[in-house]
Symmetry: D2
Subunit: 434 residues, 4 copies
């Protein structure tokens, strides 16, 4: 009751168990995956780690108990994610994306859809169930709520009522988990599709569940500079047919996108914090042993000492902001649109610079691939760019809320509800040339 | 139990009552004080406001119930301070300094000292009791823990055992509240003095309580660019005699300084947040009405919308970091040395830039004195510089803790105790020239 | 020939003569003006300084020799402006605004207009000739090139052909110099007016010269937080009649605005650099004498030493960027649209933070009004906000150029010409809501 | 005469010829080298490129004509380096290090030494002459001027007078070029050695030229995250014997280090600018073609347009600051100690963030290895860390100069000389714990 920052015994247990898993199981696999030149091989190399995580319930921990999930709060999920990301942020992205694919069923799906698909995930005994989230396209996704049907999402789903199916044509670029362990597809992919070719993004979009091995879909893996432990693909649809009962959020695909990227925002934010913390832990140790050729450890120099206090301060500030956003979403059914956007842009952008500051502490040796700074530096570039890029998508979502009459600077601090409406969409999609 | 950001009903009541007081009572007085050219007149003009605040118990709200105070937690004190500072940060500095003068009695005083002096404050019925905190000196205070007795604090207190008194000679520069409403002195001033002329700052310093109207003390008011609602003075001691029972923390004046500036750090931090929030509230309203000569409010432009989301994000991040620091201190008897230092340097430095960002939203009209941006901008410069300046003192305290073997990056997030020891002092006092 | 940063003997003479004037003549007057509560009194107090400057030819130094001016290059004008601004940036704004009022005659005026009005300025023997530049309006000016005639500039000038006059109605807010020494008007004001009530800002605007003592105009002085040595007013037109031969740039008022704020951009930029340099000079001296209670000057601490090197580096970088922009404009008839915008946004925003960094070096004493930091801090807030605010106007101008096909990253470094066209205008004036 | 930013026809020719070489010859080789997992193979793959560069005189262009070099000014060398670095900064580092090894002969060597060793470099007809610069050690080098002989440089050179040789024992870590194309050593390595085991770094150090194939030296290549086109090694000395006539700067090895890192500072700075410019060119093109799923290129969005203007502004500002530093050094025999340090810390730190800003423009596709952003991002991390790391070494050098009484804020702008003395060394080497 009231403001409280003290972890419960259970939360501490979650934290330290996850840390042990991250250090003992995840670290060696992630380092190998990172060095693996073939991106699909890198992803596949994580399968044993994933199976162990699944055995601990990690891959469905955020799904509600009602459907067999772990029932973790957003705050608790963040605690686990930070620990994983302090070692490797690519692997927990697999978990996060399971959520991006399945959480929308809670918010927009029918009970049958929930039971079937969430049920499958939580019933997984092999420990390899994957759900993919397919929204991004090659031409870009930031303007998904553009009023023109020729802008934004271009993967079409035409209703073939005669056969009770939707026929999908087009391409997704960057969807995560979607290719599955063997490039035959994730067990299920939640795809944002244009179900109305005549309507703009606020009404023409829907979501649809596409099962593994659906004919007419090809996957090609993208070779990324970081987060190599997870898989991103180009996914091409050539008249792929999907049962009509797999459709959800008809005409509300825009809301699926916004709500998903709100839910994931504090997760991506704490992931950025986790990577920065990993770099900070290394830099702090380094500063207490390395002397820079002097007569005592470099932390004893004011420039190093001060920089480390700034690094630590930013990580602390970032973390509690993430917790706040997660806590707010715990209260309001995973909603917290502007707060999530603020959280992600703040943490994603700041933590990249924190990691570079850690490299400045370490000095030239940070460039040596035998030390982990190379990897932290690359991983840290991801957070501002993925999961709804900060420059456009995340800031736009916060902007749309803040521009609304209903918004008050007290909303979040007072934990008051804030309804996200379609009128808050579409900010910045029309270019500004007079 | 567990991480929680929801204000209790009582906390919300505190927040909104304080806000009402700030808007209705404080605002008009503070604006007049700010415009008043004579600094002592500016301070005196706040007396009626202070009396009203005292009637509400505000001036001793942070003192323990045991001694007649309000028993507010640090978190609750922060809630009130933010509201006051969103209107004017000078006035709540008077309250804060009452704490800097009296809280050390809890930590270092005898029971008699506590009962007498805290008792006087809480028994005040006129509503004008002031306690001053006198540590800074003209030559600077950052190096108070320097190993040389000729460095750091130079106000001497020589023990005249024959008369059971200490004889004080020297000067304090910048002490707050110390001159009192009439320049005859605050009701009591807690002064850091050098009781051992042969020892460095880690062992040669003590604290002593100096009563109002003690002969041999002069006060001259400093004319400041901001925080004009509170009083800072030069305080000169010419053989002022103080009863020996007023001494506390003998040989531990250094610890008094560190503990005090730890306790006040989140308060100064939330004050910075409060000022930034005041500026943000104005800028947000402005952006929803002002069009910049265009055809709709400027918030509809992406540059303005995005900047406002960044402003809001920084304020949110800053606030919860302050709450965390205060909560930690609530758990550990007001201790939290590195965390406080991190909190203040992070918020103090960041919020100055946030206020300037708010001015960028408002544009050239921010320069017009009829709008409040002029004042917010000046007030915002204070936080990095006062209450143990960030560049040296606050960073040094965090640095000393972090350089210690006992420090772990998990300490604060896990709410684990961290003992501050004299070995953590003295960082950066020896200059680095080889 | 070729890249050269060495000042000629003449340039050094200009620099050090201006410095002497700034220190001996300007400083005492500017300090008094800054402290003067009445803004018009503050401005009037600068008249003797202005007269001395005029006797040295300073007030028309930038006008071409052909018309009796000093013929100073932009680079040389910058050298002088930096020296003045290191002491006080308000006063040189008076000079700058003379240019904003008269330089457009060179670019857009007829020979008669040039001879008459520039001639008057350069023939001034009393040393009090003032020219005002009136573009800003109360509702904002950033969107002056908006396609709607109801947006942007709303001061109308209706052509009364029968009497050979334009009739002006409306208001300007923030024009500088415009009220003149006695609130009867500057000797001449160059006003941007809407001459076509049916056209948007790209074609509906013109410029017109309004002589002192023109009936139907009122002036009210704005009370600013900084730059108090110059005058900004609200200027109200009630059917003021102006001879039609005073019109220039008919239908091209937009280009007058853009070209003017291009020309002034490096001047405003070097002004920001000058203020920062003034603060830096004070902080550097302070750091070499003040000990912060330690045993040697604070510059011997690494945190202070490093911060000072960063301050100095930013000032050096800023200055040469200004020189580059001025040099480019010297080559291309005062044009250099994107480069000017980049220069001003870079320097204006950065130098505000540099001044605050200087305050961090000085510490709490920076808050004492007896030291100059208070003034530097307030002055430094102006540059991002005035003279076409950075957030919108200056960035928009650079943006429009960069978005054009003709723009190359080599343009400026190669000193190649770049034609500014109306197609580069209008960026960002339509708000982005879909 | 006087301030001039216009490139001569010759300078433009140098720029565009170098650009053509960089795009046509360097680019394909550098991309392959970057992808090559074995670092020595990566380096060797650059040999044909180096030979072509040598044929154009590039590898000795900065050496004086008197000794057969190209006689390029520092400014001209910078023009070439920027062009190379816009494509790949690893390769030009090879050229730069030739200078770090041979330029000290001009400043500290005898005429015989100059003729012999510079002569060899310039007489090279095979086009593969390499000179290495070996200063850094595993324990760190930042405190090379520490007063203790057990701190700083630990590679010892004991004088065996009987045989007219110095005997070298110890290790260098990170020297560049030093292993040569075949790990038998660069043609010559200039090594900083401790010739006096009893003296601190200000007097105990010297420089010595070590010829290729000297027995008793082993090389191991460091696997770096960036700048893979150049070679850094660990170089171990087991009683390697060097003729005594190869010694220079006896007792002044500290000055060799400082002067070298002053000379290279603007080169490293323009390299950072070059990398940022390469990223900016890509991002600018991207912004004019990619739509982000909207209806026009993303540069038409204000957030993107504004960010690009900021990116361009920082690159412009950085470049002219580099030119200034180089020009100053051209005037003063390659000296300009504080200015070089300021230049490198400013550009190195800023350009890393500029490259990340370019990635923010590009968005998630910046993570795709098929685009060049991955490489730019990694390369950009190097400049703050190598060539005397900014946090300590470069800032220390500027600090020591600025703390000196002789320093004036006018020194550099006025192109006045500034003598660097040993009294300016040693700042920050003694840690600050009291």
């Amino acid at each position: 009751m009231g403001v409280d920052f003290e972890l419960t015994a259970e939360q501490k247990k979650l934290k330290y168990q996850t840390r042990e898993f991250a250090r003992e199981v995840l670290r060696p696999a992630a380092e190998m995956a990172d060095a693996q030149p073939d991106p699909q091989e890198a992803f596949r190399a994580m399968k044993p780690v994933y199976e162990q995580a699944a055995a601990m319930g990690m891959h469905t921990m955020f799904l509600p108990k009602e459907y067999g999930g772990g029932g973790a709060t957003n705050v608790n999920f963040l605690i686990a994610i930070e620990e994983l990301c302090a070692i490797d942020p690519g692997f927990p992205t697999i978990l996060l994306v399971n959520g991006l694919a399945l959480m929308p069923l809670l918010w927009f799906g029918t009970d049958q859809q929930r039971e079937k698909w969430i049920g499958r995930a939580t019933a997984d005994t092999r420990g390899d169930f994957l759900a993919g989230w397919a929204v991004s396209e090659r031409g870009g996704t930031a303007n998904f709520d553009h009023p023109s049907p020729r802008a934004g999402i271009q993967l079409t789903a035409d209703h073939d009522r005669s056969r009770g199916q939707y026929v999908l044509n087009g391409e997704k670029h960057w969807p995560c988990n979607s290719g599955g362990w063997d490039l035959r597809g994730a067990d299920v992919n939640l795809c944002i599709v244009r179900t109305d070719r005549a309507q703009g993004g606020k009404t023409g979009l829907s979501a649809i569940l596409v099962e593994r091995d659906t004919p007419g879909i090809e996957y090609e893996v993208i070779d990324k500079m970081a987060h190599r432990a997870c898989q991103n693909v180009t996914m091409t649809f050539h008249g792929a047919r999907v049962p009509e009962e797999n459709l959800l959020a008809e005409g509300d695909g825009d809301l699926v996108i916004n709500r998903n990227f709100t839910w994931s925002a504090p997760i991506a934010s704490i992931a950025a914090v986790g990577v920065a913390r990993g770099a900070y832990e290394f830099a702090l140790k380094w500063s207490k042993t390395y002397t820079g050729g002097g007569s005592s450890p470099i932390i004893n120099h004011q420039a190093v000492g001060n920089l480390l206090t700034e690094i630590a301060a930013k990580i602390e500030a970032g973390r509690y902001f993430c917790w706040k956003a997660a806590h707010y979403m715990d209260k309001f059914g995973d909603q917290g649109h502007a707060l999530g956007g603020m959280n992600k842009t703040f943490c994603g952008d700041l933590m990249q610079s924190v990691v570079f500051d850690c490299m400045r502490v370490v000095g030239v040796n940070a460039l040596d691939r035998k030390f982990p700074m190379d990897k932290f530096y690359r991983e840290a570039a991801v957070f501002s760019l993925y999961d709804a890029g900060n420059l456009a998508m995340q800031r736009r979502r916060a902007w749309g809320v803040m521009a609304d009459r209903s918004f008050s600077p007290d909303t979040f601090v007072d934990s008051e509800p804030l309804e996200f409406t379609k009128s808050m969409e579409g900010y910045g999609v029309i270019t500004e040339i007079g």
